[in-house]
């Protein structure tokens, strides 16, 4: 009797465990099915290249030992960056100038633009039309944007020089080639990327401005506040977080960006981007690293150059998590255009 009870209890226990194992196992299978593709792709496209970049920067990988992968571990690459490469100081100067100027457009100019578009312009249709127009540089495929700019700045058939002359700029101030002559080419680089970046700030800011309660603005207006005062004392203080967010986000993406520069100068220069970007003084850090890898075939050195960007990137992202917290960082991901 007792033995049977015990036996039954024991059986129940075993069955319970089996059931538990089954649900757990089912769950595990479910999770594996759903998560494996995601994790595999992330490992392939993100984690392994980051790890590989770190490793390669300590090697002398170049065109000669690419196939055998018979590399030597060395610290030479970093010595080269910090001491011996004569071109690094200039690249650094160009990069700092590029990032700060475009950042100014992306964070500050787009703020003014958004206040104008979302607050000053009361006509909804006009506001939408202008907003869509400002999105064009971002929506257009990069190579088309490059093609259009190449035409626009063309000294013979383009519109830029005639426009400037019509505005009263003396002909002798205008360059014969916007692509090649130095201060002009660098100005062009800033403007071209500024147009693309301005819309990012615009999307984030206009959404934030629209969410400012109307009552506050009305109350201020009734008290006799001018539009300027409303903008300065009500809207801008409420946009503190979006401004910080746009600045942070754009700093990182600007430091690493070079695709637009490569496309405009490379295509305009007949396919070879290296000489023309150097002559025009538009070789930013990331582009320099790209050139070192795919033109000079010094993969190890190029990796060391981009490792610095990877380190800055990771440091900045950790900083963002500290500043914004997880929640705030997640929100804007849905408005990506």
């Amino acid at each position: 009797m007792l033995a049977k009870d015990q036996y039954l209890a024991y059986l129940n226990k075993v069955l319970g465990v089996l059931k538990e194992v089954k649900t757990r196992f089912g769950r595990f299978i479910l999770l594996t099915v759903f998560l494996t593709p995601l994790l595999t792709m992330m490992a392939l496209a993100w984690i392994s290249p980051v790890v590989l970049t770190i490793y390669l920067s300590f090697t002398d990988l170049n065109i000669q030992n690419l196939l055998t992968f018979n590399v030597r571990l060395t610290l030479e690459n970093f010595g080269k960056i910090f001491k011996y490469d004569p071109f690094v100081p200039e690249v650094l100067r160009i990069t700092v100038m590029y990032v700060t100027s475009v950042l100014f457009i992306n964070a500050i100019y787009s703020l003014i633009l958004s206040i104008v578009l979302a607050y000053l312009i009361r006509n909804e249709f006009l506001s939408i039309f202008l907003r869509v127009s400002w999105l064009i540089p971002r929506i257009t495929p990069g190579i088309i944007y490059a093609l259009m700019w190449n035409w626009f700045i063309d000294p013979r058939s383009g519109l830029l020089n005639p426009l400037l002359q019509a505005l009263g700029v003396p002909a002798e101030w205008l360059p014969r080639s916007w692509l090649l002559q130095k201060p002009y080419s660098q100005l062009l680089m800033i403007i071209v990327n500024g147009y693309v970046g301005a819309s990012f700030g615009m999307i984030v800011y206009t959404a934030a401005i629209k969410s400012v309660p109307d009552d506050i603005i009305h109350a201020a207006k009734v008290d006799g506040a001018s539009d300027l005062q409303v903008a300065r004392h009500i809207i801008i203080p409420l946009l503190k977080w979006p401004i910080l967010f746009v600045t942070a986000w754009q700093t990182l993406s600007l430091m690493a960006s070079y695709e637009q520069i490569l496309m405009i100068w490379g295509s305009g220069g007949g396919g070879g981007y290296r000489g023309i970007t150097r002559a025009a003084g538009v070789t930013v850090w990331a582009l320099y690293s790209y050139t070192k890898a795919f033109d000079d075939f010094e993969y190890g050195y190029a990796s060391a150059l981009s490792l610095l960007l990877v380190i800055i990137g990771i440091a900045l992202i950790i900083l963002y998590f500290k500043i914004f917290g997880f929640r705030r960082l997640m929100e804007p991901s849905k408005v990506e255009v």
């Binding site: 993100w46 495929p141 259009m148």
Partner: protein
């Protein structure tokens, strides 16, 4: 008081003028280059010669000759447009399909299944979203090379599609997760109570609810693949396997001195899917906001 009233009226007038000037100066005048570029692309592609880029002199379809005859510059003959278009299409479709498959699965897991390290995974995805992938190009090149996918024609394009999809996946997974989040639990419970397995409930009850999200992700990743330049430019050296943006890149330098019309026509041809999809996407987005179940 009376004078005060008048001066405040004239002040109001001045401030109104100022406001219009600010609107013009900040939001309208800087758009003149952009508007004129777009107008140029459309006008130039249909006329042989234009003055100041915007005033056409006669209508012509000769610029579109690349559709039916080979394009030459001197001795060089450029690859035919149609195989290149098919390459571009295959790349874009490959990216789109992979992204949809992986992010629909992953997005559901993150949204609905509780597991260890879920928050960590979410944080990691957001971090990747912020991280500029473009600086990983060198390491990706070495990986492609070591996997034996470099310089192998169509196989290289497949490799590029996988890489591009991998780079797009954190963002798209996040978007799809948002859609799964907005489906009420009750719906899934009901299916489970009715005896569906979790997998079946996912397939037949949950998935139809997020179709707008899947469509949006599919379109965005298709366009990302369609306009991908750098990966193809860097990894594909054989002209037969060029995609449209890379072909255009190599043609601009040659034809900008002789034939802007051809470039504009090719540019317009290449932009058609982008234009098409952006008008369509608006509808999809509208459906996202108007229809469907909101949590």
């Amino acid at each position: 008081m009376a004078t005060g009233g008048r001066s405040s009226r004239s002040w109001r007038y001045v401030s109104k003028v100022l406001k219009v000037l600010v609107i013009l100066g900040v939001a309208v005048i800087p758009l003149i280059p952009i508007w004129s570029m777009v107008a140029w692309l459309a006008i130039q592609s249909f006329s042989k010669k234009v003055t100041l880029g915007l005033v056409p002199l006669g209508l012509s379809i000769e610029n579109w000759r690349f559709l039916w005859s080979p394009v030459r510059a001197g001795l060089k003959e450029y690859p035919n447009i149609w195989p290149v278009t098919i390459n571009t299409l295959l790349l874009a479709l490959g990216v789109s399909m992979l992204v949809v498959l992986v992010s629909t699965l992953g997005g559901y897991a993150i949204s609905r299944i509780d597991f260890k390290g879920r928050t960590l995974l979410m944080e990691f995805i957001i971090a990747l979203h912020a991280f500029p992938s473009i600086i990983l190009l060198i390491a990706l090149f070495i990986i492609l090379n070591k996997l034996g996918l470099y310089g192998k024609g169509i196989i290289t394009l497949i490799g590029i599609a996988i890489i591009k999809a991998g780079l797009e996946i954190p963002m798209s997974t996040w978007i799809i997760k948002g859609f799964f989040d907005s489906i009420p639990w009750d719906l899934e419970w009901a299916a489970l109570v009715d005896g569906c397995s979790r997998l079946k409930a996912w397939k037949s009850v949950i998935l139809p609810q997020v179709l707008p999200g899947i469509a949006a992700v599919a379109i965005f990743s298709f366009l990302a693949g369609w306009s991908e330049f750098l990966l193809v430019f860097t990894y594909v050296k054989d002209e037969t396997y060029y995609t449209l943006p890379v072909l255009l890149y190599h043609m601009i330098g040659e034809f900008k001195f002789i034939d802007w019309g051809l470039l504009a026509a090719m540019g317009l041809f290449y932009t058609i899917p982008t234009l098409l999809f952006f008008t369509l996407t608006q509808k999809v987005l509208l459906r996202i906001y108007v229809g469907g179940v909101k949590g």
